[in-house]
Symmetry: C2
């Protein structure tokens, strides 16, 4: 079945760009001197026996990062960015990821095969080491996986005269593979980035400076006698089967090629069950990109793949591919500034690209990519390999690579509370996702705006919203906690201390309550206290008039109003998980403490230099402002922003202790008496809550607490309690919570290393 | 300890009216002829071994309704009204509750003791029957329980010179009991309502017409030799203990008195642990009130009790109480129109009432009650017994009682979907509460506006919101169902049919989707479809312009918009509970079907006569209107409201099929193919939902469904699905769901009768 001129028949509005993508990236672990790391694969990562995203390839120190299937190149890079973030912060803080395909200076003895649990996999690697040599195994790269979109394939199928869609798809992918191999020199020319090998890497004689060692036959290739035809799928399958039978290959995956068919457990299954996607294996790591491949590369390659479908299949496949191989070898081993040889059919490629763009009305972005390809074809300076030339020192890229590795390492470690690429999601969800990836759980973001995740391990699926809304809580308990009146009743019935008070649905009812509260410190607030509006606090007993006003203010916000005793003391937030208190937090209002030398303005700037302080809830703390409210507070304390604050003098810049207005979070988990932790945990348990934030007012925390004499009052229970506030604090060590949530959701997932 | 002149010392703003109340009401079951019912206690009621609200007293047909503790007289009557509703609809539809204290015509052999499980209780009743005679046992009444408010007692305690609050409270209640017995004639005079005994009831000679046989010594009293002193608590306790030891009483509860101390398991415990409340046992059933006691009676008695505390205690208790007993006997056996004898110290009472009102500034309502007491003291015509006189026929009240019983029965059976007294709550919650009371579960309404209930049986507590938000669902599943995008992903991943489509967060994204949907029937809607705003349906494929407009309309309502294929067919709602489909509902738009004789207006009125149709979601169906929208629809079909509709012709009055706009609900549970029920149940199960409403579009319900060929599409999963719509339908039998929810929450509670 020949599949030619089908794209040309499609409607211009066809979903030509519809495709799924996946990226695998190999990268060596090195130390801060750029030498291979001889440490084991990090034990904080989920075991390699099941980890879907972070593996080791050949060697113990050769990490392999694997994305889940993405719907776009952007999404694929976003996935890879996050997995890279996790990998970068799971390895030792003294280790870096080598950004080049070609390894640093190594000797063969250094290279230890991956210490995997699976016996076959260890045996396999030892065999490869024996057969191909260990140093070659350390060459790293990127595999670019692509599956044509379902609707696109369907549309092509409709244009064809075929009746079996599986056979049709196979023919489509076969043609794509054929043209890919025929024109693989394009990839090598544009994106080759392995121009030098470090001293002592190759045993044999090699040119000094090339485009890509990795993409040449000096790279990681099969023995010359392994020749697999792509003339038909049957040929491909049988050839490999025969080699295995003859013992020339030990497994189907030992067949190395710039492109492989994927999607079935064994090759023969492709024939009846169908190829699912293609794996393009000839991408060198781009050291200018933290994740090893740029957005433009991903999208340019996507266009090129479509161009390979646009073009007709080669008539004599074996011959065309052999010529393609030879041309690629030549271009791979050329000097980076050498122009393309005349036999490189750039015109075919650029014409196909132009026609694609024209036919499908692709816009500015894709037109720009095509122009870049044309420019690079014309001018080798515009290739990736050429851009590396200025960085080669003494025939080595090591210094450059090390600089890059350190820079990317530092980047990974900035905003370490976030998950790179997902900074728009809530912090606690970012933290949970980081931990999930680290632990080797599968993840899918079902709804980004809603912080809705799907996590799974084998058949065990869990949904998580907002980081701690899980199946572990039952449905009605958070509903109870959302209702202050219900919560207070339940706690009070269980014998826990809550503020005395009542709920009123009319001004008259509220006023009738006055006799019981006059002479007392009280709080009058709308039943639903959103944004803190409508609350009146009477630390001096209220007159009837003022009490009435307070009721009116509250009734302006809600149809139900609570009048409660005001509880003096300090408020602490207890994070309870599964019956145990995991963290205790004190929040204090935005403030600075003087040192006798600096002005308040300068002290604020100093405090704001803390990398944890950012804006708008996407960092654990907020920038302290010096706006009207803060200046008014200063004035009330007798200060102005440019006054020097005496040593030890503390001034508050806000009245409220919210983190969102610049407050400090202080982790007091290890300093507060454990009796309070137990009491708070008991409260959450009596509600039936699994994840719960308990707000206690404690007048004197040096007094231990008990159920009979609590010495505290519970003013609120919070479902969906914030987690990041406990982990990244202004003061105190901080407590990790998100990993515990995952351990409890997936107790079967141990974080042992193998 | 003498407690006098304490109330007088209280601040006028003291919570003088603060108290807890409970009511117990006995009532005989009779048939529609007014004869005693000889059927067993209804088996649909939870077993008497644990039922907190509906018991039998002495006889099998003597129901006893017991309210939980209420914070006000209003709440106590509300409770009793609801329990009466349940009792009234749990007994056979041919049975009524006798509204008088004095039984209908009976003979002793008719009276069967209550067939209780508990052996002691059966033995006890047989002993009572033997000792006092069975007919006397059939006299019914009301017990009025009252506990003084905590803050009120505390305030009185502060005014006293006492140091032990338990002893203080005991003294308070003792004084109240003393004055109550001393002045019990007031209750008998004002509220006595047992003026006649039916022929053959009394064996002995009795007057023909009195105020209250029940409140005289002809009523249910101990043998004359039982004399218990109220001079001190110790006297009271010891006296009863001695009688038991001597065998004159078999149990402490065999001591009958107009007032008893309550709150401990045995009387002796009162001395150290304290009396909790008082039980006032001398209230005859008021046949003019469905629940047997009026609001004014409850509140007047409350004032009288406070007056008895305002007055000093009798100096010689035994003597004063003996005199009180004699006076009560005289007044009880007087003709209802006889004025009070001079020895009745009305002035003490009215002065105390006036002083109470004055001192504490009680308002119009209470002042009115006091005036009514004064008026009744002056004029016997204003007493309850006098109001019964006109209804006595041939020395019998039976006809009157039967009329009342039938009227109250009919009332119980109107709006049988509601729970009387709780009509402002959501229907499904009213239904669940009804079932909970029927089954004998304890209930507390934690938040009425929030439909938040606490239900319990022994130590097993469940919280329920909105009737079906329970602990049986886990937290994250309803959150998933609230998000259409997440729901669709989960269902699609599990292989269930959902509308194809996508979600967009910008106009550009949405427009880029056009190629994939042009030529198709689509729906464009905001992601959160509240109130159905912003939805565009294209049953004809949309032009790009119109598609763009539809996107703009939707984006005006939400930041995210869904574009989905339009699924033609009929929508059915499947109610899934615990993996099983319990009900299937078809909703059709408001409509009438002609009969060739009546106008559309008349047909609408006929349809609106269905007692299920009401307004504003407090009835299962809604009134069909003939407003602008309906008239427009008629016009579009070529009709006007006063046209006669041809026989069999159906006109729709609305386009949408919501019940809230007058639609019909049709229960098709038993007629729709069970394969759809299984498929819907499987969808809910794959989400992990326990209570779930599945909306399926089914084009042809005669075609069976399977996972592979579903012949339907799921357009939505609903957490918190409405339940009443399935139970009370315009057509079809209706399916009971709320009882099943309770059976699953409390499997240990069997509805067996004993």
């Amino acid at each position: 079945m020949i599949i030619n001129q089908l794209l040309q028949k499609l409607e211009p509005t066809s979903p030509i760009l519809q495709a799924n993508f996946g990226i695998e990236r190999e990268s060596l672990r090195v130390d801060r001197q750029g030498k291979l790391a001889h440490t084991p694969h990090p034990s904080c990562l989920g075991a390699r026996s099941f980890h879907p995203y972070i593996q080791t390839d050949f060697c113990e120190f050769q990490m392999e990062l694997i994305t889940p299937v993405a719907k776009s190149t952007t999404e694929a890079r976003r996935f890879l960015g996050a997995i890279t973030d996790v990998a970068g912060r799971s390895i030792s803080k003294d280790e870096l990821l080598w950004p080049l395909s070609m390894p640093p200076r190594i000797n063969a003895q250094e290279i230890q095969v991956a210490q995997l649990e699976n016996e076959f996999e260890r045996h396999y690697r030892n065999y490869l080491a024996e057969k191909y040599g260990t140093k070659l195994q350390a060459i790293s790269g990127i595999h670019y996986n692509m599956e044509l979109g379902k609707d696109l394939v369907e549309a092509l199928f409709q244009e064809s005269d075929q009746i079996d869609i599986i056979a049709f798809k196979n023919a489509l992918y076969l043609k794509l593979a054929q043209n890919y191999l025929r024109y693989r020199w394009v990839i090598t020319y544009l994106f080759g980035a392995a121009p030098v090998a470090e001293q002592g890497f190759f045993d044999q004689e090699v040119p000094e400076l090339v485009r890509s060692f990795r993409n040449s036959d000096h790279g990681y290739v099969n023995k010359e006698e392994i020749q697999v035809s792509f003339a038909s799928l049957e040929d491909y399958v049988s050839a490999i089967e025969n080699y295995i039978e003859q013992g020339d290959l030990i497994a189907e995956k030992e067949f190395y090629s710039a492109v492989r068919f994927r999607g079935q457990k064994v090759n023969r299954s492709f024939l009846d069950k169908g190829i699912t996607y293609l794996e393009f294996r000839n991408f060198d790591l781009n050291p200018f990109e933290r994740i090893g491949i740029s957005q433009t590369t991903m999208d340019t390659v996507h266009l090129l793949l479509l161009a390979f479908l646009w073009l007709d299949a080669p008539e004599n496949v074996d011959q065309a591919l052999a010529q393609g191989h030879a041309l690629n070898e030549k271009i791979a081993l050329s000097h980076p500034l050498e122009p393309l040889p005349s036999e490189a059919e750039t015109q075919n490629i650029t014409t196909a690209l132009d026609q694609l763009v024209q036919h499908f009305g692709l816009g500015d972005y894709h037109q720009g990519l095509v122009k870049q390809v044309k420019d690079a074809f014309a001018d080798p300076n515009k290739t990736l390999a050429a851009q590396l030339l200025p960085h080669i020192k003494d025939k080595s890229l090591s210094d450059f690579a090390l600089d890059k590795a350190l820079a990317y390492h530092d980047y990974d470690w900035t905003a370490h509370y976030a998950l790179k690429g997902y900074e728009e999601m809530e912090l606690s969800t970012q933290m949970l996702l980081f931990d999930a990836i680290q632990k080797g759980l599968h993840f899918e973001i079902l709804d980004e705006q809603d912080q809705f995740l799907k996590l799974w391990h084998k058949d065990h699926v869990e949904y998580v919203k907002n980081g701690n809304m899980t199946s572990k809580d039952n449905y009605v308990v958070p509903l109870a906690m959302a209702n202050k009146t219900v919560t207070k009743k339940i706690l009070a019935d269980a014998g826990f201390p809550v503020p005395a008070g009542d709920e009123f649905t009319s001004l008259e009812q509220g006023l009738a309550y006055y006799p019981l509260i006059k002479g007392k410190q009280i709080v009058v607030k709308p039943k639903s206290t959103n944004f803190g509006l409508g609350i009146s606090i009477f630390q001096e007993p209220a007159s009837l008039d003022n009490y009435k006003k307070a009721l009116e203010i509250a009734f302006a916000e809600d149809t139900a109003v609570l009048v409660e005793e005001f509880i003096p003391g300090t408020e602490y937030r207890f994070f309870i998980l599964d019956g145990r208190c995991e963290a205790v937090l004190l929040r204090v209002a935005a403030n600075v403490v003087g040192d006798g030398k600096h002005t308040i303005r300068e002290l604020v700037a100093q405090k704001n230099a803390n990398p944890l302080r950012g804006r708008d809830h996407r960092s654990p703390l907020e920038i302290i402002k010096l706006g009207d409210i803060e200046q008014l507070m200063l004035t009330q304390q007798g200060y102005a922003p440019d006054d020097i604050l005496p040593e030890g003098k503390k001034v508050n810049l806000r009245r409220n202790s919210n983190i969102s207005t610049g407050g400090d979070s202080i982790d007091v988990t290890e300093t507060i008496d454990s009796s309070y932790q137990e009491l708070a945990a008991a409260m959450a348990t009596s509600m039936g809550a699994w994840a719960c934030g308990v707000d206690l007012i404690i007048p004197d925390r040096t007094q231990p607490a008990s159920k009979e004499k609590p010495h505290c009052t519970c003013i609120e229970l919070n479902f969906n309690p914030s987690m990041y506030i406990h982990t990244y604090c202004a003061e105190g060590p901080g407590q990790a919570i998100t990993p515990k949530i995952l351990d409890k959701l997936f107790p079967e997932v141990a974080t042992s290393q193998t």
